[in-house]
Amino acid sequence: MSQASTEIIKISGHAGTVPGAGLNREFQVCKLVDTTTCIGCKACEVACLEWNGYTFSQTTFANSYQTMPETAWNYWNLIKFNEHERDDGSMMLLMRKDQCMHCEEPGCLEACPADGAIVQYANGIVDFQEAHCIGCGYCVTGCPFNIPKFSPEAHKVFKCTLCNDRVSVGLEPACIKACPTGCLHFGTKSDMKDLAESRAEQLRDVSGFADAGVYDPAGVGGTHVIYVLHDAKNPELYGGLPKDPHIPYSVWLWKKPLKWLGNLAMIGGIVGLALHYLRVGPKREEPIPPEDRGPS
């Protein structure tokens, strides 16, 4: 976690062993969102705005409790509501806190052309560095979760930072701090994974949700925000959580084979033209034969 710089490996002039050396410490952070205990109070939405210095935006009413249709450049944390009718006719209000998933293999970072505009820290946080962002919007195309949002005012793209500024000084993210039900947890990836799995097991064994499970999609190498879902087989029910998210194939094609083919072709083309000039030289005008001279 944030304490990477405080773990001591060697000590000068020190007799005996190094206290704490060899301790197996994990630096990967993770946010756990237990959708089964979320009450949709939106305290996380408020805390996110407050900590990050944004004011409330106009809400959009669309026959649900949801604040707006999707996250915005200045609204990084949004609970998505879905009135889901179950097979037995009963209704479930599914609520999922939507924000950046902090993918282990981030599509935004893969797509970004600007040097240093997106960084991935060793603790797993994927952070936008707006000072380097050029506002091209490639990250918008690269993200499988529809998270990066373009600001028409700043001409740059913004998203959840997982409160990197808080985490780096040993605090938990603002949304975690605000949650009144304890459905939000923050800790190391392995701890959160264990907690999530035990909660899912409880839901399966005790609460009768046979398909309960943990959402930590392998297609993006796992995420640093994970969910406990009552129905892990249908994540789409939770405000369109993709079932098998991955870096879009077209982004992969564009950034890998097409890029190298294109670079080779451009270099090859320039070399080829230079060789052509050296081999056959210029085309020069030739004298006009007498029969073609003068107007007829």
Binding site: G269, L273, H276, V280, K283, E285, P287, I288, R293, P295
Partner: protein, 227 residues
């Protein structure tokens, strides 16, 4: 005729041969250079966005955000120039039978054995292909470019459009770069007198006779002899 002869042959053109005849009007030249400038801007900034190894190119046009801001606008300006070129030259760019024969023998052209080729009108097959490919590419770049320009305006339910647009924009841009390289090489280095013709608007009679014989007959009033 061997390669060496072509390069070293002493010039034996006459004063008559060196007389200038108009080839490109003032408006044609202005539009050509407008297109060249706007394309070059899109090329420099586009290459900066294409690979980190060329990201430094953004610095010479004012930095990444500036490049990103103007790239789509210059793309629109380039589209305007392409539309005007279509109006100016579209008619001259229609393919005829001689062009097809010319294309079948393009190896002779590449080897500077131009005398083995059928006579050429105002534009040769290569120029026509370049023209139509650029017109078509411009349309594709424009359509995909709008998606990339306002990517956040594409609703999530249509986000496949983003994926299609990014591939089309990059692939078509690469095709135009290939064409552009050939165009610049041929008009500045390979075919002497071409660059000057786009600057001054004139060519010598000998140039016209050598490279665009049908056009030479047309503008000088010489009837076309049987080939």
């Amino acid at each position: 005729m061997s390669t060496t002869d072509t390069v070293r042959r002493p010039r034996t053109t006459t004063d008559f041969d060196e007389e200038l005849i108009p080839r490109y009007s003032f408006v044609e030249r202005v539009n050509h250079w407008f297109g060249a400038l706007t394309y070059s801007y899109c090329l420099i900034t586009g290459l900066a966005f294409w690979t980190p190894y060329l990201y430094w190119l953004a610095a010479i046009v004012g930095g990444g955000p500036t490049a990103r801001f103007w790239h789509p606008w210059f793309g629109l300006f380039f589209t305007v120039s392409q539309f005007l070129m279509f109006v100016q030259w579209g008619g001259d760019m229609e393919m005829d039978h001689d062009d097809r024969v010319w294309a079948d023998n393009i190896k002779a052209y590449i080897n500077n054995e131009d005398d083995k080729l059928p006579p050429v009108g105002r534009f040769n097959w290569g120029q026509k292909i370049y023209f139509w490919a650029m017109v078509g590419s411009t349309i594709l770049l424009l359509l995909s470019g709008f998606v990339l320009w306002y990517v956040e305006a594409v609703p999530w339910s249509f986000h496949i459009l983003r994926y299609v647009a990014i591939l089309i924009h990059a692939s078509v841009a690469l095709i135009t770069i290939g064409l552009f390289l050939i165009h610049v090489y041929m008009s500045t280095l390979l075919e002497e007198g071409s660059f000057a013709s786009m600057v001054y608007g004139t060519v010598t009679r000998a140039w016209a006779w050598t490279f665009h014989r049908k056009w030479y007959y047309q503008v000088t009033g010489k009837s076309r002899p049987n080939q």
